[in-house]
């Protein structure tokens, strides 16, 4: 074994750099002291950035698991292959209020206005950063960015040159393998190809019985970045995936066994291709055009669906006079779907094509240069469900002193109806007869009258960055919700052999959530860095609880960088009690216990190019229910996971 006492850093001092030609200098990657803190401190919003280093040191193997370190984001693993993720409350498998983008491509499905986390994956080693904005990002990102926006940004091909191969195995992460190779054509064009495979084991029910939710996914893709000339850049990227997801679904039927457990083998596959052209007019002005196609197919017993999306997005940024910076853009999105009904679901119409047109404008005004700036903007959208939606916002940023920054914002955001909320009818519960009560079948029905949910958000934040090694970021919010999704009183009809109860979706609920989030980073010494996140949330809803609102959440990640290439990373997480919608409970609610858990990662850089990771996740309080799906699935327990991984770069 070869030992290196310190990682060979390729950083060079000015003396060496002056030996490079000017053309070579343009390819040198620039690092800045305190750059991350600097970037964040200029945003009048609750922003948290997960860096590539954060991903590596946390030992996470998927995007939803990485989001656990962000204050205000609630991540609950429902079973081996499903997650419920949301910001500032409302958590659910079908969380509708969070917009998620991968390199500018939306992975939000209009089927239920949410994200299928299990099919959205990237090679985490090649992620540059994940930007998480809690609060409405409506002006820049449009409708459905109500509670937050998650922006996953991968590294440019220039930054992923050469080869990387990783392989790992464990009890839950049974097999994981990934390989990437990047090269260049001339000095200005770079590319990469990658492939990855994951095979994961199943969890268990509370009874200890295997839940049959094991799954495997294979994925491959490419990226090409080219500097056509100093003014023009082109990026082309694409991915393909295919997977096999197992679940045990309980399907309602008005005959024995009423809730029929079926082992379902869900086939998923999809692909996308994206092209992005950026033209730099000056350091203060640029235009960007992005076009992409994204499609997926999913066959499971709840519903079979096929969806194709085409998205065209244009943005222009330019200065106006001495004090204003304007960004505006237009976008067109086409989505086409096809469903196959099942024994429990009825989608009408089975096929639909929807068009979305949107435009936005944002003006950043320097009221007092370097000190006070006001950002006003609005998004205007026209969709095929609710017509025109307008989402304005105003933000104020005050640099009180070098180390102290404050911001305020008021915004309006809407969450437009999903396909299921307007067009679907789903049977989700059946009970056997217990005389005098006959067999009962309960269905949830969407309605064409279903409207957009609306949010008025009032936020305030404070940032304290006295020195590069310490930063504190606080955010406070008050969210006023209107027209929230609720179920109207059931309509009963007599069917042959049973009574059918139809619940219709309405927008009868409303209420408020309010809370605070804190994030602190402290590089205590060169050997110890502390990352802290805390969130508090309280709520008040008119027509009863919405579910998924934990009062307190806490995350502490001490990172120890020991000598000889050794790293020890701990991760303590606490999530407060929550109520989850749960069909299998008499009350309709599952009381989820609060929990404190710990992850541990031991990393060893054998050489700068060969790394070994040994990771243990959920080491305390394992075998716990983190959350439940509303219907179809019984409560699953998250288990202790142990795995080892070897990564080689060449």
């Amino acid at each position: 074994m070869l030992f290196y006492s310190a990682p060979a850093s390729y950083a060079q001092e000015t003396g060496d750099l002056t030996g490079l030609s000017i053309e070579e200098l343009m390819g040198v990657k620039v690092t800045s002291v305190g750059k991350k803190a600097q970037q964040l401190s200029d945003s009048p919003a609750a922003v948290f950035v997960i860096s590539n280093e954060d991903l590596r040191r946390s030992g996470v193997t998927s995007i939803p698991e990485a989001l656990r370190m962000v204050p205000g984001i609630n991540v609950a693993r429902l079973d081996s292959n499903k997650w419920a993720v949301n910001a500032r409350g409302f958590n659910s498998r079908f969380s509708a209020q969070l917009l998620v983008l991968i390199d500018g491509r939306s992975v939000y499905t209009p089927t239920f206005s949410g994200v299928y986390w299990e099919v959205n994956d990237v090679m985490l080693e090649d992620v540059d950063r994940i930007e998480v904005i809690r609060g409405p990002g409506a002006t820049l990102w449009g409708a459905n960015a109500v509670n937050g926006v998650i922006n996953i940004i991968t590294k440019s091909a220039e930054d992923t040159q050469g080869g990387l191969v990783s392989a790992g195995a464990g009890n839950i992460e049974k097999t994981m393998g990934a390989a990437r190779y990047g090269g260049s054509i001339g000095g200005d064009t770079h590319w990469r190809l990658y492939a990855k495979y994951n095979d994961r084991d199943s969890f268990s029910y509370e009874t200890g019985q295997d839940a049959g939710d094991d799954w495997d996914m294979a994925r491959a893709g490419f990226r090409l970045d080219s500097r056509l000339n100093p003014e023009n850049r082109l990026t082309v990227q694409g991915d393909l995936y295919t997977g096999d997801i197992n679940q045990t679904l309980f399907l309602a039927q008005p005959s024995p066994p009423y809730m029929n457990p079926q082992a379902v083998d869900t086939d998923v596959s999809g692909g996308n291709i994206l092209a992005r052209w950026k033209r730099t007019i000056s350091s203060a002005s640029d235009i960007a055009l992005q076009v992409y196609y994204d499609g997926y197919e999913r066959t499971e017993d709840i519903i079979d669906e096929e969806r194709d999306n085409i998205d065209i997005d244009f943005q222009h940024r330019f200065p106006l006079g001495r004090r204003q910076d304007i960004v505006w853009g237009v976008r067109y999105r086409f989505t086409s779907d096809e469903y196959v009904n099942s024994s429990i679901s009825d989608m009408d119409p089975l096929e639909r094509e929807d068009h979305l047109y949107s435009a936005f404008i944002q003006d950043e005004i320097a009221i007092v240069p370097d000190r006070l700036s006001l950002t006003l903007g609005s998004k205007f959208e026209h969709n095929d469900y609710t017509g025109t939606e307008i989402q304005p916002s105003g933000r104020l940023m005050w640099s009180a002193a070098d180390a102290h920054k404050l911001w305020w914002s008021v915004s309006r955001a809407v969450r437009t109806p999903s396909r299921a909320e307007t067009d679907a009818s789903i049977s989700y519960f059946a009970s056997p007869p217990s005389p005098p009560i006959p067999t009962l079948l309960v269905r949830v029905n969407g309605s064409p009258e279903f409207e957009s949910e609306e949010l008025m958000a009032y936020e305030f934040g404070y940032r304290f960055i006295p020195m590069p090694r310490f930063s504190l970021d606080l955010a406070f919010f008050y969210n006023d919700y209107d027209r929230l999704r609720a179920l109207a009183a059931p309509v009963q009809t007599i069917q042959p052999g049973y009574i059918q109860q139809d619940l219709i979706l309405t927008n009868n609920n409303g209420g408020e959530t309010y809370g605070a989030e804190a994030a602190a980073v402290f590089s205590v010494t060169d050997y110890l860095k502390l990352n802290l996140a805390y969130a508090f949330l309280d709520y008040n809803f008119e027509k009863g609880n919405v579910g998924g609102c934990p009062r307190n959440q806490f995350s502490l990640r001490p990172q120890f960088t020991l000598g000889h290439g050794l790293e020890l990373d701990l991760w303590f997480r606490y999530v407060d009690t929550m109520e989850a919608n749960y069909m299998f409970s008499n009350t309709g609610w599952y009381e989820v216990d609060d929990y404190l858990t710990m992850d541990l990662r031991l990393g060893w850089k054998i050489t700068p190019d060969v790394h070994v990771d040994i990771v243990g996740q959920n080491l305390i309080n394992s075998n716990r229910v983190e959350y439940t799906q509303e219907a179809f699935n019984q409560a699953n327990e998250v288990e202790k996971s142990l795995f080892a991984k070897l990564t080689v770069r060449f």
Binding site: L2, Y10, A11, Q12, E13, T14, G15, L17, T18, L20, S21, I22, E23, L25, M26, G27, V28, K29, V30, T31, S32, V33, K35, S156, E158, D159, Q161, G162, V165, A167, G168, A169, K174, T175, D199, D225, P230, E231, R233, T280, I281, S282, S283, A284, P319, R322, A366, P369, D370, I606, T607, P608, D609, V610, L646, V648, R649, F650
Partner: protein, 183 residues
């Protein structure tokens, strides 16, 4: 049906990868501190700049570079002090005083300079034959000659050839070819 244990095959693959990693060399990924790179760029800008024939006092006058700003980052520019370019040597000063700066041939304007001071610098250097280099958004559109900005963690620069011409400064076409040209 599994015909082999996944753990066993992975151990075998792992060993192969380990040996490969120890034998093969990775491509040298060049990364450096922001101001070290900017200073190296400025050294190149000087190489590709021609001042008017009557600008320097005599053949041995130094090329005077002024770092207008404060803090540690200036140390990378001091590494240029004494370096020869086209028969002259570079002389580096750091100051926060605008009037002292105006007696130089090149001014590098740090981005932390307040707006009001930046405006004053632009107006007072307008008629002077000084190569002004900045790192503030929009600098080249407002009276500066060269301005740094970053894209994808790499440095780019914009040049206003009109402003250079007004000052009597000639920039090589090799330099202009690599820049974003601003009117």
């Amino acid at each position: 049906m599994r015909f082999f244990s996944p753990f066993l095959s992975l151990k075998y693959a792992g060993c192969c990868l380990l040996i490969a990693g120890l034998l093969l060399q990775g491509p040298a990924a060049r990364a450096a501190e922001e101001y070290a790179v900017k200073a190296a760029f400025v050294f190149n800008f000087i190489k590709f700049t021609q001042w008017p024939d009557d600008h320097f006092k005599d053949a041995s006058s130094p090329i005077r570079l002024c770092y207008l700003g404060s803090g540690d980052s200036a140390k990378h520019f001091f590494a240029l002090d004494g370096k020869p370019v086209g028969g002259r040597k570079i002389k580096v000063h750091q100051t926060e005083d605008l009037t002292i700066c105006l007696n130089h041939d090149i001014i590098f304007v740090q981005n932390r300079l307040p707006q009001a001071q930046l405006n004053r610098l632009i107006s007072s250097s307008r008629d002077r034959c000084i190569l002004t280099i900045g790192e503030t958004e929009g600098f080249a559109g407002r009276g500066g000659v060269i301005n740094f900005f970053s894209a994808d963690a790499r440095l780019q620069f914009e040049i206003n050839p009109g402003t250079a011409r007004e000052k009597g400064i000639k920039l090589s076409s090799r330099l202009l070819k690599l820049a974003v040209i601003v009117e």
